[in-house]
Symmetry: C2
Subunit: 327 residues, 2 copies
Amino acid sequence: MISIDDVRQAAQRLGNHRDLTPILEVQAVNALVGGRVLFKAENLQRTGSFKFRGAFNKIASLTPAQREKGVVTFSSGNHAQGVAAAAAHFGVPATVVMPADAPAIKRENTARLGADLVLYDRASGDRKAIAAEISATTGAVLVPPYDDAAIMAGQGTIGLEIVEQTQAMGVKPDVLLCPIGGGGLMAGISVALRALLPETQIYCVEPEGFDDTRVSLERGERTANQPGASSICDAIVTDMPGELTFELVRRNLDGGLAVSDHEVLRAVETLFQEAKLVVEPGGAVGLAALLAGKLSLEGRTAVVILSGGNMDLDAFRQRFGLGEAED
Amino acid sequence: MISIDDVRQAAQRLGNHRDLTPILEVQAVNALVGGRVLFKAENLQRTGSFKFRGAFNKIASLTPAQREKGVVTFSSGNHAQGVAAAAAHFGVPATVVMPADAPAIKRENTARLGADLVLYDRASGDRKAIAAEISATTGAVLVPPYDDAAIMAGQGTIGLEIVEQTQAMGVKPDVLLCPIGGGGLMAGISVALRALLPETQIYCVEPEGFDDTRVSLERGERTANQPGASSICDAIVTDMPGELTFELVRRNLDGGLAVSDHEVLRAVETLFQEAKLVVEPGGAVGLAALLAGKLSLEGRTAVVILSGGNMDLDAFRQRFGLGEAED
């Protein structure tokens, strides 16, 4: 488990190596949801998502001997870029096990940051096993995508910033909405908010068919998704909640919401047209839930985490072609 | 003419009614241009461009009797939205004369903000004459897009913010690049910079074929463009520099640069993919000039104004379809 002290220590380690991403408010979006929406624009974070924070905190906490042997991770993209950039900062060699069908922009950006890529077939390969084998062979430290104390504490620094930034604005958020995949971001942020803004309601948001956290929260225990679902939210498609993350999520959250691909596309388009922000589908689920009326914001203020923006132009075109055809 | 005092007064009037747009830095962009680029993200300003600032300052400076009769303006889009939003803030009726072929998003947003639209045919109509007639008939005050002291001073508040924000970062910019159409934004910013950062070089950037300011600077007098050119930069396509604006631009600038549509598309795409920002073509010309090597940034720091982001999804798709075909 982690505490607010772990999050504060992570914030000290990160210092100015992370970007202090802005809180942005858009009148047209407020009008659409009938309340006040404050976007925490973590799509503007270096590497295009929040993942740099956790990876940096993890590698910063390694001993010199550990760093020398390098790090290895598995990731569909954003975590890979975060680890690659953080490893490059510390001069630590990084190996990333990535599905061969990951978005081109995520593969290219990871390689550009200096990491070695090991591609595997998502249908037949076991990325955890491949990463574990590399770790066993080379001595490289495994940097897991979410189920790790240092990772959760690093992502939680976003929560500290939200507290400070909203205080500076003279605003006390009623609600926070955050995308959830494995749960590292949500767990970390929830620790910071429960300690410093105990009255703010916290909801995680995930894609329909991959709403394992919502179901797990209802049942009170970690529950896997039914197989066979698909989603455009590649960044947050996970089988079931993490062990460590779910313990914190279970304790700190007020509930979970699920959104359809169509609702997500509407949010991505709204962010493009009204907020002038590029947000990938998995990063836009919080706004999607509000636009779809899954949570009423009437007269209230919500902080909505925009967790990433790594979407290439081809994917953007294809998705919006698709979105229109479904209208 | 305006002075730094006029800009400071405009900043006081605007207060918190404008958004303090962030300065954003992207490592991948720095790597592309071989220097440090600080984006002033005015595409994140309310109404999606800087135009709200000048319009607000203009309407704030009117007498109650003037406000009662309303305001009228002519604009291809961004200025229209700025005037409509500022007029709505003060409860002042607004009429906007707009070309019938202006981007749909700009027409819709202007109407949504409560302004009355008067559409005209760009080929045969004279928007200035139409607006002047409305002003003569109704007594509404004409709010010109750029050639006006209050408008220039309002846009100049961006310059004040750049000075304060870069000082807070401990950075002294070597260069500033700014899109130019009629010149209100550039004139206002140049006044603030010359007063407070006298050593920073200032360059305006415009589309090839519409580089009337570049040519006018070289000749030392206002010079119109040759007819027949076309450009995707709808926001900054003007015939010749304004009278008042050029006087300040001539005095304060170090030079003018011009970029092709293809160079602009590359900048829009880079901003989408690396900065996660939606910037319209006319707002991206500053980065276009740097990416195209029109100004070397080796070892230097540039502030690049991203002046607007009002581009609808259809236009985005079409432009990038076009961009690829030209590759």
